[in-house]
C-alpha cells in the first residue's frame, strides 16, 4: 500500500483500525516524509480530507482548493458546505450528522460547485479512525468526481422514461418535450427544440420537398423555432431549415462570426444564444423526419462525447416520431376498414332497407291516388279524402323514421362518448333487422336482463358491432334446413361488473382451433363477404376497453359470440353523468 513503509510488508491503510501501530509509526516518521506525503495526497485524483470526531473539517487537499476556488482556510469547519449544491446540502447535512452519531463509514452523492460556478457530481466517502478503546479519533474522507457516471445514469434513466412513454402510447408532443428536457439536462444551460419534417412530393415524379411542422420547444424562444407556417423549409432562413433541406448536421460554433440567416441570427443573439447545433432525425426509411436543434449561450463546438450524445438523442426522437407516424397511418387504415365494414353491412342490408322504405312509400302512393279519386268524384268525397290524406302523412313519417335510423347507424362521424343502455341499443338494431331475420326464417329470442348497468361508449359503433354479430349469426344459419333457425340475443351483468351481450345461433359453429382466427381481418368462412366484420367489431370493442370472443356451443349446435364492456362508473363527475338518452 502507498502509505506503508514497514519492512514487514503488512499492509496498512488510512482507517485500518487493526493496525494502529503502523499508523503511529507513520506519524513518527512523518516529519521526514511530510513533504512527499503532502505531494502524494495532493496528487490523488480526488479530494482528500480529514475531520475531527465532531465533524469539523480540519484538512482538505490542494485539489479541493483548485476545484472549488475556495482556499483551505475558508473551507474548514463546516464552511466547506458553502460549495455544495443548494438542493443537495440539507440532505447531506442530515446524512453527515447520522454518520457522526453512529460512527460508521458511509458515502453520499452530491454536487459541488466549481470555481466557475458550474456543478459536478461527487461521491463523498467518510471513514472513522478509532483508538484502542474504540473511540473515534478522527474522520478521513475522499471525494471522487462521478460526473460522467452520473450523467450516463441520468441519460439512461431519461432514455428509459422516454421509451416507456413511447411504449405506453403517450402523444408525440409530451415525448419530444421530455426529450428536449433530457438534452437540456445533458448539455449544461443549453436550450433544445425538435421540429418535425414531413417530405411531400408536390408532383408525383418530383423530388420531395421537406416541410417543417411544430414538434417541441419547451424553453426555446418561439421566434427561433421554424415550422409554425407549414411552408416548405427554406435553407436560407435558419440552420434548422438548412439541416432539413440538406439532411445533414449543421454546426455553428459561434453565431457572432456567421454571415448566413441574418434575421434568425440577430434574434438568437438578442436572446443571448451564440451557438447552434442542428442535427437531422432520420426515420427508419432513411429520410429526414425531424431536426433536433441545440442552442448554447456560449460559443462552442461539440466534442466527440457530445456528438455521441446527440446521436443517441436523435435516435430516440426517430423512434418516437416513427411510432407516432405509424400509429397515425394505422389509425387511418383502421377507420377506412371500419367504413368499409359499414359499407359491406350496408350492402347486406340493402334489401332490408328497400323493404322498410318501400312499404310506407307504397302506402303513400296508394293513399294519394285514392285521395285524388275521392276529390275528383262528383260529388267529391271530402271526408274520405281527408282521412286518406292523414294516412299519407303518417306513412310519410314512417318512411322518414326509417331513413333517420339508417342515417344514425351509417353516418361516418367520430366517436362520441355517451352512456349507452345496451338493451336499448340492441333493441333498435333488432328493429332494423326484423325484415332480414324474417326473410331468412330466423326465430329471434331476445332475453334482456332487467336493471342492466349502462356503459360509456359510442352508441353507433356499439350498435354496429351488434348488427355485425346478428348478421353473422344469420348467415351462419343460412344453410340449415334440417332444423329451425334460432337466434338468441341475451344481455347480463357479470361478476366483474361488466355488461355482456351474447348472440347465439344454432348454425354449423366453427372449428374451436379457429376461435382466434375468426377475428383476423379478411379471414372468413363465408362464401360472400370480405371477412372484416369481426375484426372491426373486435377493434371497436377493445377500443371501449372491453373484449369480444367466440365459443362453440356445448349444449347444442352453433356458436356464441359475446362481448363484455366495463360498466359506466357509478359516481363520476356528477355534472356530466346526467345524460339524457336520445332516441334514434
Amino acid at each position: 500500500m502507498m502509505f506503508s513503509r514497514k519492512p514487514s510488508g503488512a499492509s496498512s491503510t488510512i482507517g485500518d483500525s487493526e493496525n494502529k501501530n503502523g499508523m503511529n509509526n507513520e506519524c513518527v516518521r512523518s516529519s521526514a516524509t511530510e513533504d512527499s506525503l503532502r505531494r502524494l495526497i495532493d496528487a490523488v485524483p480526488g479530494f482528500v480530507w480529514s475531520a475531527a470526531p465532531d465533524g469539523n473539517v480540519t484538512f482538505l487537499n490542494q485539489r479541493w482548493a483548485d476545484y472549488t476556488g475556495v482556499e483551505l482556510c475558508d473551507a474548514q469547519g463546516f464552511r466547506w458546505t458553502q460549495s455544495l449544491h443548494p438542493e443537495d446540502a440539507p440532505a447531506l447535512a442530515v446524512y453527515w450528522g447520522q454518520l457522526l452519531q453512529s460512527g460508521e463509514a458511509g458515502e453520499y452523492e452530491a454536487r459541488l460547485r466549481r470555481f466557475d460556478g458550474s456543478y459536478r457530481w461527487f461521491l463523498i466517502r467518510a471513514v472513522p479512525q478509532r483508538d484502542e478503546s474504540g473511540a473515534i479519533l478522527c474522520w478521513y474522507g475522499e471525494n471522487t468526481d462521478i460526473e460522467d457516471r452520473k450523467r450516463a445514469e441520468m441519460l439512461l434513466a431519461g432514455e428509459k422514461h422516454l421509451l416507456s412513454m413511447i411504449a405506453g402510447g403517450s402523444a408525440l408532443t409530451p415525448i419530444l418535450e421530455a426529450l428536449c428536457e433530457l438534452v437540456e439536462g445533458s448539455f449544461n444551460g443549453a436550450l433544445c427544440s425538435i421540429v418535425l419534417v414531413d417530405l411531400k412530393h408536390p408532383y408525383p415524379a418530383s423530388e420531395p420537398v421537406p416541410r417543417i411542422q411544430p414538434g417541441a420547444a419547451p424553453h426555446v424562444p418561439p421566434n427561433l423555432v421554424p415550422g409554425a407556417d407549414g411552408r416548405p423549409a427554406d435553407a436560407v432562413l435558419c440552420p434548422v431549415a438548412m439541416a432539413a433541406v440538406a439532411n445533414e448536421q449543421v454546426i455553428v460554433g459561434d453565431l457572432n462570426h456567421e454571415t448566413r440567416w441574418d434575421g434568425w441570427r440577430a434574434r438568437a443573439l438578442s436572446h443571448g444564444l451564440q451557438a447552434n447545433w442542428s442535427t437531422p432525425v432520420t426515420s427508419s426509411k432513411g429520410t429526414v423526419s425531424g431536426i433536433l436543434s441545440i442552442l448554447h449561450s456560449e460559443p462552442q463546438t461539440p466534442s466527440t462525447a457530445q456528438r455521441n450524445l446527440i446521436a443517441q438523442c436523435t435516435h430516440l426522437a426517430s423512434i418516437a416520431i416513427d411510432r407516432a407516424r405509424n400509429e397515425a397511418a394505422l389509425g387511418k387504415i383502421r377507420s377506412e376498414l371500419t367504413h368499409l365494414a359499414r359499407v359491406a353491412s350496408l350492402g347486406a342490408l340493402t334489401a332490408s332497407i328497400a323493404h322498410e322504405v318501400n312499404q310506407p312509400l307504397a302506402g303513400i302512393i296508394t293513399n294519394a291516388s285514392t285521395c285524388l279519386r275521392m276529390l275528383g268524384a262528383d260529388p267529391p268525397n271530402v271526408t274520405g279524402a281527408l282521412e286518406t290524406a292523414r294516412r299519407t302523412i303518417r306513412d310519410g313519417n314512417r318512411a322518414s323514421d326509417v331513413i333517420n335510423r339508417l342515417r344514425a347507424l351509417f353516418s361516418k362521424k367520430s366517436i362520441t362518448l355517451e352512456s349507452v343502455d345496451i338493451n336499448e341499443a340492441a333493441r333498435e338494431v333488432i328493429a332494423m333487422l326484423l325484415g332480414e331475420l324474417q326473410r331468412n326464417g330466423v326465430m329471434l329470442h331476445p332475453e334482456f336482463a332487467d336493471n342492466l348497468p349502462q356503459v360509456m361508449g359510442d352508441r353507433v359503433q356499439l350498435q354496429q358491432v351488434i348488427l355485425n354479430l346478428i348478421l353473422n349469426a344469420t348467415e351462419a344459419m343460412n344453410t340449415i334446413s334440417s332444423r329451425s333457425r334460432h337466434l338468441q340475443i341475451s344481455t347480463h351483468a357479470d361478476d366483474n361488473d361488466r355488461v355482456c351481450l351474447t348472440v347465439r345461433d344454432n348454425g354449423n359453429g366453427f372449428d374451436p382451433q379457429d376461435a382466434q382466427r375468426l377475428f383476423t381481418a379478411f379471414y372468413t368462412t363465408k362464401s360472400s363477404g370480405m371477412g372484416i366484420g369481426l375484426s372491426v367489431s373486435r377493434s371497436i370493442i377493445e377500443g371501449h376497453e372491453g373484449s369480444l370472443w367466440a365459443t362453440v356451443n356445448e349444449d347444442g349446435p352453433g356458436a356464441s359470440f359475446r362481448f363484455a364492456l366495463p360498466r359506466k362508473p357509478q359516481c363520476d363527475n356528477a355534472g356530466e353523468s346526467v345524460t339524457i338518452q336520445e332516441p334514434l
Binding site: 318501400n358 312499404q359 296508394t366 291516388s369 285514392t370 294516412r391 306513412d395
Partner: protein, 123 residues
C-alpha cells in the same frame, strides 16, 4: 247491376291493408284485407275472391306458399304479387309460376289498373 267483384288483399303491412282497399273500392270493387295467409284461407271470402293481391314476404306462410296451397285446393284465383323487395330480377320467375303480374312497391295507380285488367279480362 251485379254485385261488384271481390278482390282480396293479403299483406302483413298495415299501411298497405289500409290504403289499397280504399283505392280498389274507388275503382268500384268490393275488397277484403287479411294480415296473414292462414286468416284468408280460413275465411268465408276464399270462395268469393275473384282476384288476390298478395304480398310475397310474410311471416309464417309466405305469398308463394299460399299460391301453392291454393293450387292444391284447386282454387284458380288470379294472383297479383306485390313486394317491397325492389328486385326486378325476381319478376320473371314469379310470373312463370302462374302469377298475373308482380308489382314492386311502391306501384302506381296505372300499374295496378293494368294488372287488374289482366287478372279480370271480363271487366
Amino acid at each position: 247491376m251485379d254485385t261488384p267483384l271481390l278482390i282480396t288483399v293479403v299483406d302483413d303491412d298495415e299501411s298497405v291493408r289500409e290504403s289499397l282497399p280504399d283505392l280498389l273500392r274507388e275503382f268500384g270493387f268490393r275488397v277484403q284485407a287479411f294480415s296473414s295467409a292462414p286468416d284468408f284461407l280460413t275465411s268465408e271470402y276464399l270462395a268469393q275472391t275473384r282476384c288476390l293481391i298478395l304480398d310475397i314476404a310474410m311471416p309464417g306462410m309466405s305469398g308463394l306458399e299460399l299460391q301453392k296451397e291454393l293450387k292444391l285446393r284447386r282454387y284458380d284465383i288470379p294472383i297479383i304479387f306485390i313486394t317491397a323487395h325492389g328486385d326486378p330480377a325476381e319478376r320473371p320467375r314469379l310470373m312463370s309460376q302462374g302469377a298475373v303480374d308482380c308489382l314492386m312497391k311502391p306501384f302506381s295507380e296505372a300499374a295496378l289498373l293494368k294488372a287488374l285488367s289482366a287478372a279480370l279480362p271480363v271487366s
